[in-house]
């Protein structure tokens, strides 16, 4: 059984502009473990929240290199070492003929790494999240905006954090228990 713990504080904002300002305010106050929720992507939110660049690019690069070298190695070993066949009088190691397969494997492995890496970095699939318990959560799927602050944030103090969120424009504040 998972230990029951309190998730943190959640509140609602009426517009994307207020949400942006609030996120900037939290970032400047030094919060790191907070999340914003909006019905549509808000441009510039990454900067406002102080998010670092995704590591996904490096994962994709590793996948691409693995696919490329794996495919080359396999083709070299099968056609120039293990089972030599003369095909239209060309050399056993005809790198030209290996390019399409190597290229496709590179793309395939990169794509796998991009998709599954993205899912893993986002912690998906996720069937349950404590924020669902916020009573007005469904509004954030159509017309309002939410911010949640995790109680594990080093700066988190229930009373003060709640006050700060209210100052930043947050409404209907609730402490959500997991």
């Amino acid at each position: 059984m998972r230990k029951k713990h309190s998730f943190g504080v959640v509140c609602e904002f009426q517009s994307a502009a207020i949400l942006m300002k609030a996120a900037t305010g939290l970032r400047d106050a030094g919060f790191t473990k907070f999340e914003t929720y909006s019905p549509f992507p808000v441009h510039g939110m990454d900067d406002a929240m102080g998010l670092k660049h995704s590591k996904l690019g490096w994962i994709v690069l590793c996948g691409g290199i693995t696919g490329l070298s794996g495919a080359l190695l396999l083709q070299w070993w099968t056609s120039a070492v293990d089972y030599k066949l003369t095909i239209s009088g060309k050399p056993f190691f005809s790198y030209q003929a290996f390019v399409p397969v190597s290229f496709e494997c590179m793309v395939l492995f990169s794509a796998f790494c991009a998709v599954f890496g993205m899912l893993a970095l986002n912690g998906l699939p996720k069937l349950y999240h404590p924020v669902f318990k916020y009573s007005r959560y469904h509004n954030a799927t159509s017309h309002t905006f939410l911010i949640s602050i995790d109680k594990n944030d080093p700066l988190y103090k229930e009373q003060e954090t709640a006050l700060l969120l209210q100052q930043l424009g947050g409404e209907n504040l609730e402490v959500v228990e997991d």
Partner: protein, 394 residues
């Protein structure tokens, strides 16, 4: 609302065009003088330079067409720079005249009297004859000129009125415009470059030239924007975000070039049919082979690894170095395609190669800056201008 510098003034508007036009005229005069002694060299050098600047012009036409076709917002601020390049198609038509009047015999051996005894050329004569060749050239330049005029005039007219109907009209024109563009570019390069080796054919050749022209034009647009920035124009308007996106396009289309170049080579290598392999045999002769290897490294490997990172694309100095390198390597590419017809034994760089580039280039960019100073540096009343100014990469 911030006041923006709208017009080009100072050195770039007044002195530079004169210097460039003078340089162009003198260089072309040098080519003309050398014609008596060495007509073949002059014509091939001139042809290489002509095809290079034609690629730049057509690539810019494509940039404009695709801008309207996709209703792009981010690129509005860069549009006038590209439009003015595209508008130089009239100059290219005039620069084609020397080829038409003096170059046919030296450049295209299918025009020779002996061609009548050549079985393959006999079969192709219905298409590949001088009369039809000229008719096609008129059609190509006619379509390009008409498209360039429509897009340029409407864009400039909108500067005065701010009427959205110009944008709507151009979006409509871009649909069939891009089809006309694809057909005319393909057939023109078949006529003017591929028919230098009239026995050989490759269905990829048109796309290959399209890839060259797009990469080249994106690079030159970036270089021009950076030049303007250096001189103090559009400094706050064309931001690192725009350069980043241009860099992505250069990077993507450069991989597209590699894809096409390799596919053309690969299919011919695999099938190994003499009438197809002959072209690569000729282009791998002697020192041309070294040029081919240099192209693989310089056109693909180096930019592929070097321009991959977003940090390089967002560092304007590094970005500038890469796009200048891409322009240089494009010249090498076209040189490798055209010049083996002139010196089959190996690479022979001549002073006339430089003179032809400086000649056409001088006239081209002299006229460019004269035209650029006439109107605002960006489409100032475009409905999507604000979107472009606030563009931000995610």
């Amino acid at each position: 609302m911030v006041e923006r510098t709208e017009k080009l003034t100072g050195f770039l508007a007044d002195k530079l065009p004169k210097i460039l036009l003078l340089m162009g005229t003198l260089s072309l005069a040098f080519c003309a003088v050398s014609y008596g002694a060495n007509p073949r060299q002059v014509l091939f050098s001139y042809m290489t330079a002509f095809i290079f600047f034609l690629a730049l012009t057509l690539g810019s036409l494509f940039f404009i067409l695709i801008h309207f076709l996709t209703r792009a917002g981010w690129s509005v601020i860069l549009r006038r720079i590209a439009e003015t390049l595209m508008n130089n198609i009239g100059l290219m038509a005039i620069l084609f005249l020397p080829i038409a009047f003096f170059g046919m015999h030296e450049l295209y051996h299918w025009t020779h009297a002996e061609a009548i005894n050549d079985v393959i050329l006999q079969k192709k004569a219905g298409y590949l004859n001088i009369k039809f060749f000229f008719v096609r050239a008129v059609i190509f330049f006619g379509i390009w000129f008409w498209l360039a005029r429509v897009f340029y005039n409407n864009s400039v007219a909108q500067d005065a009125t701010g009427d959205h109907s110009h944008t709507l009209k151009l979006q409509k024109y871009a649909t069939f415009g891009v089809i006309l563009f694809a057909l005319t570019l393909t057939f023109s390069v078949i006529d003017w470059v591929m028919s230098m080796t009239p026995h050989w054919y490759s269905t990829m050749f048109g796309v290959y030239y399209f890839a060259i022209s797009t990469v080249l034009s994106l690079c030159v647009i970036t270089i021009l924007a950076m030049t303007l920035r250096r001189a103090g124009f559009l400094k706050n308007e064309i931001t690192v975000e725009h350069y980043h996106d241009m860099g992505k396009l250069v990077y993507g289309f450069n991989i597209f070039w590699t894809y096409i170049a390799f596919s053309q080579y690969f299919l011919i290598w695999y099938a190994n049919i003499p009438e197809e392999t002959i072209w690569f045999r000729e282009h791998f002769m002697g020192s041309w082979n070294a040029v081919a290897v240099f192209l693989v490294l310089g056109h693909f490997v180096v930019p592929f690894l070097g321009f991959m990172s977003r940090h390089v694309k967002r560092n304007l100095i590094a970005h500038f170095v890469v796009v200048c390198w891409m322009v240089f390597i494009t010249i090498v590419d076209l040189y490798w395609i055209i010049m083996p017809n002139f010196s089959p034994e190996g690479i022979e760089i001549s002073l006339l190669d430089f003179a032809a580039f400086m000649g056409i280039g001088g006239l081209y960019f002299g006229l460019y800056f004269l035209r650029l100073r006439k109107h605002a540096l960006f489409p100032k009343k475009d409905p999507r201008l604000e979107e472009s100014l606030h563009f931000h990469n995610v």
